[in-house]
Assembly symmetry: D2
Homo-oligomer: 385 residues x 4
């Protein structure tokens, strides 16, 4: 019997980390053949070209798709998606997969969904059913409505996808594959690398060994003009706290230029003493850095997902993660420097929280592969009510 | 105060007919400015270029967008959508509308939705919340999840959109604007034109004055290879019945070539005696033709919508209209020649059914314009559960 | 030593016939690997899908590229080219050929040229250096300026490419591969198939065995609105002559709709008695049909090229072939019914002309493969003056 | 009589400066209407968004076209061009210009040419007929073959365009509009602004008042992997010379990342003491900076054109400007640190050269407008031999 060909489209470096355990499980499954497509910002040096990581991890890339139009504004975001639909349609037409996997809710993931659904290829959506703010919210649920099989990350998400009219048999809580990675490094007692030595970056040489926090703040696309304002509030709060901080550059969403410019200007004008900047880090190292930190600050979904399992205190700024299911480790604040400062000051002295399994128990990748191998694949459905 | 700019995108001739009363009401509303975009197959002679109709009806076209890639298969359907996203993004970027209106569920309508939603333009969806088979089903609900305001055609549809997690205040049953046109011609006692004289067409010179039926059968996209088989069943049934029939060519969906080829081959081999073929007809004339006919056969949504108000008997073939809300006038059959034949034989002798207002009372256009002028427009939302 | 990978892009059915002997020679060459890309109208049923022919001829298709935007006007012609650049760039990026071959001067061939040249892939142009009217003229010479190696069809063409500033060592007269096919069937004494029996078509059952002519008339793109007018002149002339004629539908250039509509209308109004229409024919059969005909009428380049070797009288209408090198068998007329009629009346009684080798001796394919295998490939050049 | 609509497409900031005097002359001409399209990197902050300059200069922008695909490699360069063809076709379709102007030889300028030529719009090419290395060489001459009217910058260029088979009446030496700007500032005795105060930038606070040089070095696209190597040679030479230098970041060509990364790395590792970096400068200020400098180093075409009129010594590195016509002020060196160092050391002590008018006398803009207003516009041509 021929293996089922499973085409997974990864459009950004962080998505790769999140799906990696599932990719591995698919690759190793005797009844599955992995067709890995790398697209969008995952190919671009500016956002941390993921290709090197991926090949080092032992994967073969079936196709690469350049599709990011420059401009970093809502208009180029939309056009990028249009280009993605054209290109990915071609890719699927040539690869002839038995199923296509689209991941989560980045704006360009709907290109994967359309290219598959319109060509009558069974579409599998990972991480549907969650709730956030901004354009992601629309994209995620539209992906759900275009998809035939839903592998969600929590019971909460499963209930929501079913409410959206999907057949309950087609909605399965596998847990989130991002937790699989966390589990891998969870037992390590100390940080086993020197971040600055290994990753360079720019900014101050921190004395991080006695404690540090991590910052990761992305622009919020429906408010992209406010990106610069928001980032400045966070910068001011962090600078005032004067506590060692490793800061990661934002992703490719519209407005990242506002965020980036905000950071650049602040650096030149204020010359903050306690911040070191990284462009990106190998996924496992990033998790290690989190595990051994005092807190995560910003609006990264890592604060919601990975940190729940880590029990790491999180200061979650603004409405980007909105109503996404969260553990007790998350403290929400608005993008105001005082609120951020006060929250940070408190949480960096917290103990770790207990492990929460709301996003799975670290076996998601294997479950996903198993379901892809065994479940019935179809491309036609009707709403359940 | 500046008028609200309402950009309506029409991508197919039939969509134009359906939205016409709303376009007129928007154009005439003192607080609204209409920006009419004509795209896709609505521009193509092969499918009945709508531009002439539209300008004759007194509308100015703000932009024309060629976007249909040749091939008429799922691959070109997907790529057409990608081109549409690119092009419509540009159009909206230049027109700067206050709201964009996307209509129903044709595959390319999601291009309108993405181009607007990603650029943070409030998106209004007309005819959401219905249920059918095939790719339309996925597209329609994905459009709902990308839209901010839902102007639906029935109470049934309204309930479904709300179940999909939309804010009830943003879901309004205006009735379907297609019924507005029906109401216009509903009082006419006789057919006031000779179809063959006025529209030419090819095939037999029918003796239609003592009774005729109308056929309109589109390919079903998730089964596009079966299009030819299905159309042949219908052709055989109709040929056997030997009752005068006006037959309309299919639209531009993938597979229409199967349907078209099926018709062409049948004509050449069998030379049916009772069928006359039209490419298209002015919307009101089409409704007149329906009103004075004995029955509509095929899978057109006109059978479900317009014919409910007309009370015209309908033989609805196959699963294209699937679970769409229907009146008592509709009889569902599977795509088998015997079933079709038997149903037709019966219904052509029926009396008309009473007027049903399940799709509105013929005032939808005005209600739509009024809501567009007065309701709060936003582009950010979160699922309701 | 690895084989040189030669990627040939065929964008239209007629181009396939013309290049076929070269494809075969490349495929059979021990040092070459053929990567055959089929794109544009060569994939479309409307224009005679070439894929079946090609696979039957023993070629494997490396990639298919749908790129023809519907509309058949100058705007969609330009956009089609843009889509072609995007898609073919992807194709070359994935195939990684050592050289790309672009053929002649159809509008979309410049997409092949740009996709190769911009990616620093050595570009080989076949059939450069000729002279015609319309947009082809601009496209052909632009292709020359983007190309690195020029395999031309005549001494006249070679001289012209050199005058255009190309290095004489990179300009080689191989003869035209289309003549290779002619040579193959040249010795056949009679037409070895019944065209109507084998190819169907529509129109009259002609009594062609005592003599017939062939008509092939394409729209002239810089005058696309005149297409309908021109075709009508030809139709009137041919109808008046009342001599059996096999007529081929036009290709996909802008304006073919004018041409097609002209033909359709004429058929319905005038019901010409002596014309039978074909959509397309296998290349060799088409040449056979020509060989055994009395004359070719229209503006096809086959009249200039293939017919020179056949010695077939040609009535060449209008300026589409303009100043292309021609043999004594060609008689030029303007698109006026009387001129066409008079010329046809005369030439159908001519004897055949002697074989002319101005376009080669029938060994072009082999020469092309040999040069592709042995010549130095580069992608950088500077004008020669 | 309606004004002639002249659509000029500017795809990069430097092209804007060069064409500015012509834009002004077109705008002010009583028989012309300017339709200014800003596209490509001219819209992007990363490369110095030109929109602000342009609007401050009093121009209205008729359309903006985002078309630059991220990646900065030959593949994205080609795709960017494809997107450009699609988008610009739309723009011209809507603007309906009487003529389109394409400028020089950047890779994406062929998109303008195709979009115009294929839609039968008379195409005017500015700065044709010159000779350089790299992909520009192919693009420039392909632009010539697609164009109908050639407004060249030198007698040398005019002769070359005619040799390319163009009708001599359609080839006019207007001089280069870039010289018009030079003439404007040519009489100023001293630098009337402080570059660092006015433009910020990064790097050392130079003591530039006693003499400084300017550096501008772009990647060479056919050797894009060597960009980093080349830039490092220049950086080493300049660092060794230890003479104050204002350095401008490279443009958006493929490989600029190599160049940019080379600069960034050098700055961090070597911390050069005599270099100050700018992203961009208002065109007139840039010319002022040149005029009062000791020399220009790099491979910018400004060294060839503007500096000829200024009589400024130029060290021209590598083959990017190749065989472009140059004055006595230009000294060519290969991209080797010693050669660059030696040449620089010498030329910074040179006196200025006398004004050379090989690229015009500073009246090009007016001549261009006059020709556009008075010459016959056509879109059909045939090669002259």
């Amino acid at each position: 019997m021929p293996k089922r060909k499973i085409c997974v489209v990864v459009t950004a470096r962080p998505s790769y980390s999140r799906i990696k355990s599932a990719l591995k499980a698919i690759q190793e499954h005797p009844e599955l053949e992995l067709q890995l497509v790398i697209a969008g910002s995952a190919l671009l040096d500016r956002y941390g070209n993921a290709v090197d990581f991926i090949e080092k991890d032992g994967f073969t890339i079936a196709a690469k798709v350049f599709m990011v139009l420059e401009g970093e504004n809502p208009t180029t975001m939309a056009k990028t998606t249009g280009i993605g639909v054209m290109e990915l349609t071609n890719v699927f037409y040539n690869l002839q997969p038995d199923a296509v996997v689209t991941i989560a809710d980045r704006f360009e993931t709907i290109a994967t969904s359309i290219a598959a659904a319109y060509q009558n290829i069974p579409l599998v959506h990972i991480q549907g059913g969650e709730v956030t703010g901004s354009i992601d919210e629309k994209v995620r649920h539209a992906n759900t409505k275009l998809s035939d099989l839903h592998l969600v990350s929590s019971d909460d998400a499963r209930a929501r996808v079913i409410k959206l009219g999907e057949n309950p048999e087609k909605v399965i809580n596998t847990g989130c594959p991002s937790i699989d990675l966390v589990k891998e490094i969870c037992a390590e007692e100390t940080l086993n690398f020197d971040p600055i030595e290994k990753y360079g970056g720019v900014g101050e040489e921190l004395n991080w060994k006695d404690g540090y926090a991590v910052v990761m703040q992305h622009p919020v696309t429906t408010e992209y003009q406010k990106s610069r304002e928001h980032i400045t509030e966070t910068l001011e709060a962090i600078n005032k706290l004067n506590y060692p901080v490793f800061w990661f550059w934002p992703n490719v969403d519209a407005g990242s230029d506002g965020t980036s410019n905000g950071i650049r200007t602040f650096r030149e004008m204020v010359k903050p003493k306690s911040i070191h900047f990284f462009k990106n880090m190998e996924p496992l190292d990033f998790l290690r850095l989190l595990k051994h930190s005092s807190a995560l600050i910003g609006n990264s979904s890592a604060g919601i997902r990975e940190c729940s399992y880590l029990g790491l205190p999180v200061v979650n700024i603004g409405n980007r993660q909105n109503r996404r299911l969260r553990g007790k480790n998350v403290r929400d604040v608005s993008p105001q420097r005082d609120e951020i400062y006060d929250a940070m000051k408190e949480v960096i002295n917290y103990n770790k929280f207990p492990v929460s399994k709301i996003y799975g128990n670290g076996e998601a990748g294997k479950k996903i592969a198993e379901i892809l191998a065994s479940s019935e694949l179809s491309f036609s459905k009707t709403i359940n009510y």
